[in-house]
């Protein structure tokens, strides 16, 4: 199934919550004949939008899991990943951006660039994703696409320019003027499916001429041909402008802006045209693989169907069709029935079925080639694994996965719920690397951890709905960490002689803070004071000690343990003895190394009317927050702050009552920082009390 890659577009759709991206995707699927009726996100017909395939998504009107879909527009194959808007689910956004070649950033014409748009844009920057913007909801009262374009320039630093002008706005929105073709476009029919092209209305001609001039000035630097034509005042063809816009967009130096209203079926088709014209095909972007045989040396993948296969699993789903693995093929061809190798585990797997996903429906296909996004059945792997056909030992670059910052205990109601909960957790952890689970051996409780309250809430709901696992949930707990502040020496002897064979081991050395990374072990033993076979036992002992610090029982990170001396006994020394000696040594060194408790600090952005700025800042201040700055935006102000996560529980209620419900906030993990002394003392006391109770 070899396709011309220049006709393939792998795109993501990203935006702030409620900017209408699912609605837009629904229209795209309708115009590309993938669906034959349009359903609203919170529709009265009870069907819900196509891409919100999870029951919960339809109910809440937000997209939780990204679903992959495929459509054809004017001979181009477009793979679309609809990505979630809530910041708690950004790993989904990040994964999507990792495998996509281009993206559409959706903005609300009233809300403009909001905090989540900034996060998403930053992620797109990280993965060098060329992007076009679509200013949606131009039918809403207060719509101002020019202001939003200004924000794209100011807030996101994009060289953004409108390629269209609206014909009317708010309830008067009739259509758009295309500044490249200089034609007016209207969208007729019940669902806007009939495009009527006309001359530009006389009253808008001057504005259109002026905006086109601005556009040409902005893009001329990306095309010598256009620049020459402008200087020599010769005719400027549509193709010339398109080429210049495309060149600027692919180089990430220009970002075209389109406008419309998906809900009112206005100007969605020109956006599809823009995806074709301005976003890259798989061969336009360079994707790098890591050669595992050459110390992870980077190499560009070829995008050639004939070359050895390389593909990346970027999403797992365990739906009603069994385990589904979404993959992006970077080079080579994958045929149904072929055997592929997981380069992480070294295991080989047979690809039984190969499908192209269309939200929760699928099409069986026999093969897929370079640049394609498809799903495999029955392949056991983790998200982020690379597959090859065995001819190459490589991996696609690793994905940035943030550490979980919040956890809570879940208690199954009965035995049946216990079994179902295990199944659910097993699946969720495989699907989502930011969702983790473990059993606290002291309390016997199952703990789940993730990126925010909503993140965990959604998984609990899914456990109940999809697995009938009734669970009781404890209060959310902040995932604290412990670390050391200074270097300290240890010299510990573990000796036990209580009948039978004894235990003996002495471990000496030092521990010191590690600037980057969680843990490092170094063996500086000379002269065999600890025999070779017990060196790894010391490492194991230290690793065990890291699981639970002595201050508040949280994991210890940022520690480098170095051993430089020790002693052994020819009979009594063993793996266990040295592990226990290392545990003792760690404890001894740890208390001397000025241990400290670290807490997750969240980057918080509160956006609301300026009149409430004082109260918002006051509320952040009360929560041990540090205000970084404020941005005045007309009558709106955004307050940026860093606040400890432990202080953010219940903030949405506080904010609502402070601002009459007019302000909203988003937060994302920023860093771990030491807690103040008073909080540290409180946490230590609480942990000691809990230990006494047990």
């Amino acid at each position: 199934m070899s396709v011309d890659l220049s006709n393939v577009r792998n795109i993501g759709i990203s935006a702030h919550i409620d900017s209408g991206k699912t609605t837009l995707t629904e229209r795209i699927l309708f115009y590309t004949d993938r669906i034959h009726a349009i359903h609203d996100v919170r529709g009265k017909d009870g069907v819900g939008a196509k891409m919100d395939s999870m029951e919960l998504e339809r109910e809440r009107g937000i997209t939780i899991q990204s679903a992959a879909t495929y459509c054809t527009w004017k001979g181009n194959n477009i793979n679309i990943i609809d990505t979630p808007g809530h910041v708690d689910f950004t790993v989904e956004v990040e994964r999507a951006l990792r495998v996509l070649d281009g993206a559409v950033l959706i903005l609300c014409s009233v809300g403009g660039v909001q905090s989540q748009s900034i996060t998403v844009n930053r992620q797109m920057d990280r993965y060098n994703v060329p992007r076009i913007s679509f200013i949606n909801k131009c039918d809403r009262t207060g719509a101002n696409p020019e202001r939003v374009t200004g924000q794209l320039q100011d807030k996101l630093g994009l060289n953004a320019h409108m390629l269209q002008l609206p014909i009317g706005l708010e309830s008067e929105l009739e259509g758009v003027i295309d500044l490249v073709t200089m034609k007016a476009m209207y969208f007729d029919g019940d669902n806007g499916e009939t495009i009527r092209e006309e001359e530009i209305p006389a009253d808008l001609q001057d504005a259109a001429d002026e905006k086109r001039e601005e556009l040409l000035d902005a893009v001329s630097m990306f095309s010598d041909e256009l620049m020459e034509a402008m200087l020599e005042e010769t005719e400027i063809s549509t193709e010339m402008v398109k080429e210049a816009v495309r060149a600027g967009t692919l180089a990430l130096d220009f970002s075209p802006v389109f406008i419309g209203s998906a809900y009112k079926n206005k100007a969605v088709q020109p956006l599809l045209d823009a995806v074709e014209y301005y976003l890259p095909c798989p061969t336009d972007v360079e994707n790098l693989g890591l050669d595992l045989e050459k110390d992870e040396e980077e190499f560009p993948v070829s995008n050639d169907d004939e070359d050895p296969l390389i593909m990346l699993a970027f999403k797992l789903e365990d739906g009603r069709y069994g385990q589904l693995t979404y993959v992006r093929t970077y080079q080579g061809t994958l045929n149904k029935g072929a055997t592929v190798y997981n380069t992480r585990t070294g295991k080989k797997v047979k690809v039984g079925r190969l499908v192209r996903m269309h939200s929760d429906e699928m099409e069986e296909i026999d093969s897929c080639g370079a640049g394609d996004i498809v799903a495999l059945f029955g392949v056991d792997c983790a998200s982020g694994d690379t597959f090859t056909d065995g001819k190459l030992t490589c991996s696609m670059s690793s994905m940035h996965i943030p550490e979980p910052v919040i956890s809570l205990a879940v208690l199954p109601a009965d035995n049946k719920a216990q079994i179902n909960m295990s199944k659910a957790l097993n699946r969720f952890t495989k699907e989502d690397p930011t969702f983790k689970t473990f059993v606290d051996h002291e309390t016997g409780e199952t703990i789940i951890s993730g990126m925010g309250e909503l993140h965990l809430e959604v998984y609990i709901e899914r456990m109940k709905r999809e697995y009938s696992a009734e669970v009781q949930v404890g209060a959310p707990q902040v995932a604290y960490r412990e670390t050391i502040s200074t270097r300290a020496e240890f010299n510990y002897t573990h000796k036990k002689q209580t009948g039978g064979s004894g235990q003996f081991g002495r471990v000496a050395g030092y521990m010191e803070p590690l600037e980057e990374g969680e843990y490092e072990f170094e063996d500086k033993i000379v002269g065999g004071s600890i025999p070779r076979e017990f060196i790894s036992s010391c490492d194991k002992g230290f690793t065990k000690s890291l699981l639970k610090g002595t201050l508040c029982g949280s994991p210890v990170t940022g520690v480098r343990c170095v051993i430089n001396d020790g002693a052994f006994h020819a009979v009594d020394s063993s793996d266990v003895a040295f592990q226990l000696a290392a545990v003792g040594a760690f404890k001894e060194g740890y208390m001397k190394a000025k241990p400290a408790i670290m807490e997750p600090i969240m980057k918080v952005a509160v956006e609301g009317p300026s009149e409430f700025q004082g109260s918002v800042m006051g509320s952040i201040n009360q929560r041990r927050g540090m205000i970084i700055g404020t941005t005045e935006e007309g009558n709106y102000t955004v307050v940026d702050a860093e606040v400890p996560l432990s202080e953010m529980f219940g903030y949405s209620t506080t904010l609502r009552s402070l601002t009459q419900g007019k302000a909203e906030f988003t937060m994302e993990f920023s860093s771990f920082k030491p807690v103040p002394k008073s909080v540290s003392e409180e946490l230590v006391k609480k942990y000691q009390d809990e230990k006494k109770e047990k």
Partner: protein, 237 residues
């Protein structure tokens, strides 16, 4: 090295101007340059000098975002640390940044009265009481700029601010200058400033020149420093 070492290479100190903000009166400074020559970098170093001496600085950025402004501070502190290797650097950064707040405005939405209102609000709530103010991106071509500066100077007196520093863009093709050599568009308002610095490209590098300084100032007008164009820090001799 300790925190105090971070300020030793500060332009204000190197020019002998640091005495200005501890002298009796309140001081108003201006840093001028053509677009893209590094006014913000110098302004940030001036702000940092003040923050490192435990003054609270409000950085007002007009036409620039909070993140971008914050990055200036992070970058400059990072560069300083590369030179000085400060002990416990992260902790120093944490402590110093508590003395800074950034307030950003769109070009057309800034006005002195609004700024004063916000600052009073912050002070009344005990959130942030600024000792110093830096204003980056102020439009001196605006007909009302002189009145706005006067208004801010009045506010400075009322609220016991120690200093206000502004930045202004000069233009190559506008040759108007004041008697002190202060270029347009500030040539007509140079009386409002106690100190005026100019960054100018010279000898394949950048020079920071003192165009004007007050009586309390220990240096003569005309004294200049070489800046490293890559980092905008003062070049070592």
């Amino acid at each position: 090295m300790g925190k105090e070492d971070l300020v030793s290479n500060n332009p204000l100190r190197a020019l002998g101007l640091e005495k200005e903000d501890v002298a009796d009166g309140r001081r108003v400074g201006l840093i001028m340059a053509r677009a893209g020559l590094g006014k913000t970098a110098i302004l940030v170093q001036i702000a940092m000098d003040s923050m490192l001496r435990d003054n609270k600085v409000l950085h007002v950025a007009i036409g620039e975002g909070v993140d971008k402004t914050r990055t200036w501070y992070d970058d400059i502190l990072g560069l300083m640390n590369q030179e000085k290797k400060i002990e416990n650097f992260q902790q120093v950064v944490e402590d110093v940044m508590k003395n800074r707040m950034i307030m950003t405005f769109k070009e057309n939405s800034f006005d002195a009265a609004k700024l004063e209102e916000r600052m009073e609000d912050l002070a009344q709530q005990g959130i942030f009481k600024a000792d110093c103010l830096v204003v980056d991106g102020f439009d001196f071509t605006d007909a009302n700029s002189a009145a706005a500066i006067d208004e801010l100077k009045g506010f400075m007196e009322k609220n016991a601010l120690k200093m206000i520093w502004f930045s202004a863009v000069s233009h190559r093709d506008d040759e108007r200058v004041s008697v002190n050599g202060v270029p347009a568009p500030c040539h007509e308002v140079d009386g409002a400033f106690d100190t005026v610095l100019l960054i100018s490209p010279e000898d394949n590098g950048l020079k920071l020149k003192t165009l004007k300084c007050s009586a309390a100032c220990a240096v003569d007008a005309g004294k200049s420093l070489s800046l490293d164009p890559a980092t905008m820090l003062i070049k070592k001799a």
